[in-house]
């Protein structure tokens, strides 16, 4: 396949960015999207140009490093995959592909397509944990049975990879799906109930502080989430927040 790439180039956080066009030839449909960018970068380096910076690591859709806004969609046109799992067979010979970073005020660009998602970490610092010290003396793992349904639902929420596609897809740059997923995981399990009130309040407060927008129920996040995190997690987070406000 021969393609035309339109890629966002930005030298650093302070520089002004712009879209630059790169033609690329002989792309195999079996390549992953990032392998296609590898080839572009090899060409750029060989020609003495600066390669395109993008985040990536595991290349099997689980670490959450890769991002990219491809033709106006987080992680590109395929569903339930991250960019590293997107294959070129989803494109046609002669296509023009626009590649931009995940955009949000809370995700400033570091370079080209690399953004700073540390706001997600800070939300977790505020409450994304159960306060239990490491010891050999916590109770036996089977001492509290948990219904399979709840455990499975907690797992579905916990499957979030923290990539930020939800924020990038949202017209409000809201992080509600991300925070909702974490809050839901804990809300569905008996462990850590004792600090549920503080958890949801602190995490939501930090989310607001980081400059993420509010949720207006467009549902774009759910559609673009590579892990299929459900909008229900947002509803559950709101319930938890209301419960917390009554309690405190």
């Amino acid at each position: 396949m021969n393609l035309t790439l339109q890629i966002w180039r930005q030298e650093n956080a302070k520089a002004k960015g712009k879209i630059v066009e790169y033609p690329i030839q002989d792309i195999s449909p079996d390549m992953s999207f990032l392998e296609m960018l590898d080839i572009l970068n090899r060409q750029l380096i060989t020609n003495g140009d600066t390669p395109v910076a993008f985040d990536h690591d595991c290349r099997e859709g689980i670490c959450g490093s890769c991002s990219l806004y491809i033709n106006g969609e987080a992680h590109g046109p395929d569903r339930r995959v991250t960019t590293c799992q997107l294959h070129m067979r989803k494109f046609k010979d002669g296509d023009t592909i626009f590649i931009e970073p995940f955009r949000a005020d809370a995700f400033p660009v570091i370079k080209d397509l690399v953004v700073d998602r540390s706001a997600f970490d800070r939300i977790q610092h505020a409450g994304g944990f159960i306060s239990v010290n490491t010891s050999g003396n916590t109770q036996d793992g089977n001492s509290i049975p948990i219904s399979k349904h709840d455990a499975d639902e907690a797992m579905d929420a916990a499957t979030c990879i923290g990539c930020g596609a939800c924020v990038a897809s949202c017209k409000n740059s809201s992080a509600m799906l991300f925070v909702g997923a974490k809050v839901s995981q804990y809300a569905l399990l008996p462990q850590g109930q004792i600090e549920a009130t503080d958890r949801v309040q602190n995490m939501v407060a930090q989310m607001d502080l980081e400059g993420f927008g509010n949720c207006t129920n467009t549902g774009a996040c759910e559609v673009e989430c590579p892990k299929g995190i459900s909008l229900e997690t947002i509803a559950r987070m709101n319930r938890e927040l209301i419960k917390a406000s009554v309690k405190s």
């Binding site: 380096i45 595991c58 793992g141």
Partner: protein
């Protein structure tokens, strides 16, 4: 220096308890005066950082990713072992210990492995308490499955994302301490040297990967949880960034490197699709619970399948060779990884491979779908003879067990594994070798510790499935936090370590000069060009089967490639900016040294053991042939060029297990 493994005296089962009871502790007020650096935030590093901070030490944690949650432990799929015996199938601490030593082909330390088996149960309890959503049965209790090389069900799991959930558990424990200020987190930082002052590890030199700044960080002790070095093969199931740099720099500062040639080649990975390939994807070993591995019995059928003239589903049952079930009736498809990988290679080398390059075997779920479908139909009182119904019901069950893996396969290969068997081939997955550590997980540099995959210890010459997660968390949560206290108890009056010393200055200057070399080199080829070539040498000559001639060639070829790399590599951009090519250049430079030591280690080990298979040493049936005179750990001391490294031997003593021929027949 003579190697002292510092294994405590006394009966095997009491060693760890007695050791914990007798080592020195640091009182809580003094812990506040002690700094510890942890490099790497995967299961080992993350759990260690969190636990050390809970204890009261001041922790500085470093990762090259943009968040600790992205460390490659996240990609572990199948599960974590623990001797809970919840299934009542005869499991025990002893059995887990025994299976692990045997699985490692009798090349690991008894005392370490027993300790690992002892703390395995604590890990599950701890993770449940942290809110890790392990799979549960309908009674609400924890579910288990079975993995290769064992006869019990002791593997705990969270769908096909167990590593992710365990890592997020450790990450959440870290987050709590980062929030409290007890861990200072350095994301997007790469350790480029360890600083040794008066014979003790006292800090590191790190590069801020965003600004390019070279930073000095001091501490009373340094812990490396920086993972394995599988990427020396270029293609592996490791993440793109996984590297040996932290471990290798420590090696060059005096830490011995043990058993570098012990590499795990995992049998069930998605085959290579072309030269553009940047990494390989694993299909969890858990699939071998239900998937049957086969190739055609006849060469002409194999050729027809390779040329796409025959569909595998059209090949009659009696024309298939379920070679693992045939060769190893007792363990069948669940033989350990090294055995399964070699058996697949043997069939493919003989021409029975099933993809266009002839380097793949089938992993088939058709029988499992029918079995589960019939079971479900029976439970629901439906017609067990209705084939369409059985298929539908069976596929539902298989989907609930392995859905995410099947989806991953379909996205990559563009074939539906519910309808046609998966194609798989072995790929580099894990490295059992690593930095040599004593029983306390301390390296040969006092104050420098290595944990998780970065050290060499518990898995011997072959790691059993679901044991990497167990070891990483055992080291980080339950072993290192105790043993490091014994060392730090001598440092309570030392006070803060200054970074204004000649040692820090020298280390920083060295790091800067290597970076300057790369930036100013202006060669003609990108870093990947050299990395790929290194990978080809490693795979062809140090891969699943090795021999003297090729290993000698590999040593020469790698050494020559290294010279070429330094002369001709082109690194674009500048040192003081975000520059991934520069980071990659440093990592590949270290792989080019490690690769040579790897080949040398494989050459010196004139036996076959676990993942190390020397063609000269095999039984008449083609199984690995261990040799008594090689019952030792090879610990290499750096002496300039990797091929000049000096070998130190740690003899392995088996007092509780009879060393037998490892048989899975």
């Amino acid at each position: 220096m003579a190697l002292d493994s510092k294994i405590p005296k006394g009966p095997l089962a009491d060693k760890w308890t007695n050791h914990k009871n007798t080592i020195d502790l640091v009182n809580p007020a003094n812990k506040r005066l002690l700094d510890v650096i942890v490099v790497g935030t995967g299961l080992a590093g993350g759990s260690a950082a969190a636990t050390l901070a809970e204890l009261g030490y001041n922790v500085k944690a470093f990762c090259f990713q943009d968040s600790p949650r992205r460390a490659h432990s996240i990609a572990a799929q199948g599960g974590i072992n623990a001797a809970k015996n919840y299934q009542g199938d005869g499991d025990s601490t002893y059995r887990l210990f025994y299976d692990t030593v045997k699985g490692g082909d009798y090349r690991s330390r008894e005392a370490n492995v027993h300790r690992l088996a002892e703390v395995s149960t604590n890990i599950i309890d701890q993770c449940v308490a942290q809110g890790v959503p392990f799979a549960r049965d309908y009674g609400g209790l924890l579910d288990n499955r079975s993995f290769g090389g064992v006869l019990v069900s002791r593997t705990f799991y969270a769908k096909g994302q167990t590593g992710q959930q365990l890592l997020l558990g450790a990450y959440s424990a870290m987050n709590r301490q980062i929030g409290r200020g007890k861990i200072k987190m350095y994301n997007r930082h790469e350790m480029l040297d360890v600083v040794v002052v008066d014979g003790k590890a006292r800090g590191i030199i790190a590069r801020n990967l965003v600004t390019g700044e070279i930073e000095r960080h001091s501490a009373h002790a340094v812990v490396l949880g920086s993972g394995g070095y599988g990427n020396v093969f270029y293609l592996s199931t490791n993440a793109m960034g996984s590297n040996v740099t932290a471990a290798w720099k420590a090696h060059k500062r005096g830490a011995y490197f043990a058993n570098p040639c012990y590499t795990q080649i995992h049998p069930t990975c998605i085959p290579v699709s072309g030269d553009h390939q940047s990494k390989l994807t694993l299909m969890s070993e858990s699939l071998r619970n239900d998937g049957r591995i086969w190739v055609p019995k006849n060469l002409e059928d194999a050729k027809a399948i390779q040329n796409r003239e025959l569909k595998p589903t059209d090949l009659a049952e009696d024309k298939r060779d379920y070679f693992l079930e045939r060769r190893y009736p007792a363990f069948g498809n669940l033989v350990p990884r090294d055995v399964a990988s070699r058996a697949a290679k043997e069939r493919c080398d003989a021409g029975f491979g099933v993809n266009k390059t002839g380097e793949a075997v089938f992993l088939d779920f058709a029988a499992a779908i029918i079995r589960y479908g019939k079971e479900k139909a029976h439970v629901k009182g439906l017609n067990e003879e209705d084939e369409a119904l059985i298929q539908t019901l069976g596929k539902e069950i298989v989907k609930s067990k392995y859905g995410n893996l099947f989806q991953m396969y379909e996205k990559i290969v563009d074939e539906n594994p519910y309808e046609t068997p998966m194609m798989i081939y072995p790929a580099v997955h894990y490295t059992m070798g690593g930095i040599w550590v004593d029983y306390n997980l301390q390296t040969t540099i006092p104050g420098l510790y290595a944990i998780g995959e970065a050290n060499f210890s518990e898995h011997g010459a072959n790691r059993l499935g679901a044991s990497a997660l167990m070891q990483g968390l055992a080291d980080g949560y339950f072993v290192l936090p105790y043993t490091i206290g014994n060392y730090l108890s001598k440092d309570i009056r030392t006070g803060p370590i200054s970074t204004d010393s000649v040692e820090f200055e020298e280390a920083e200057a060295k790091v800067k000069s290597e970076i300057d070399h790369f930036i100013n080199n202006k060669g003609t080829k990108p870093v990947d060009y050299f990395h790929k070539r290194l990978g080809k040498i490693m795979w062809n000559k140090c891969g699943m089967a090795r021999n003297e001639t090729e290993l000698k060639e590999a040593i020469e070829e790698i050494s020559a490639l290294r010279d070429e790399f330094y002369k001709d590599v082109r690194v674009p951009g500048a040192a003081n900016e975000f520059n991934e090519e520069l980071a990659k250049a440093g990592r590949v430079a270290d792989f080019l040294e490690l690769g040579e030591l790897f080949a040398k280690d494989a050459l010196v080990r004139e036996e076959s053991a676990g993942g190390h298979f020397r063609e000269e040493y095999q039984t008449a049936e083609g199984e690995a042939q261990r040799r008594k005179e090689f019952q030792f750990v090879s610990a290499w001391e750096y002496k300039g060029a990797p091929k000049d490294a000096e070998l130190h031997k740690e003899e392995l003593v088996y007092e509780n297990i009879e060393v037998k021929e490892r048989s899975y027949k």
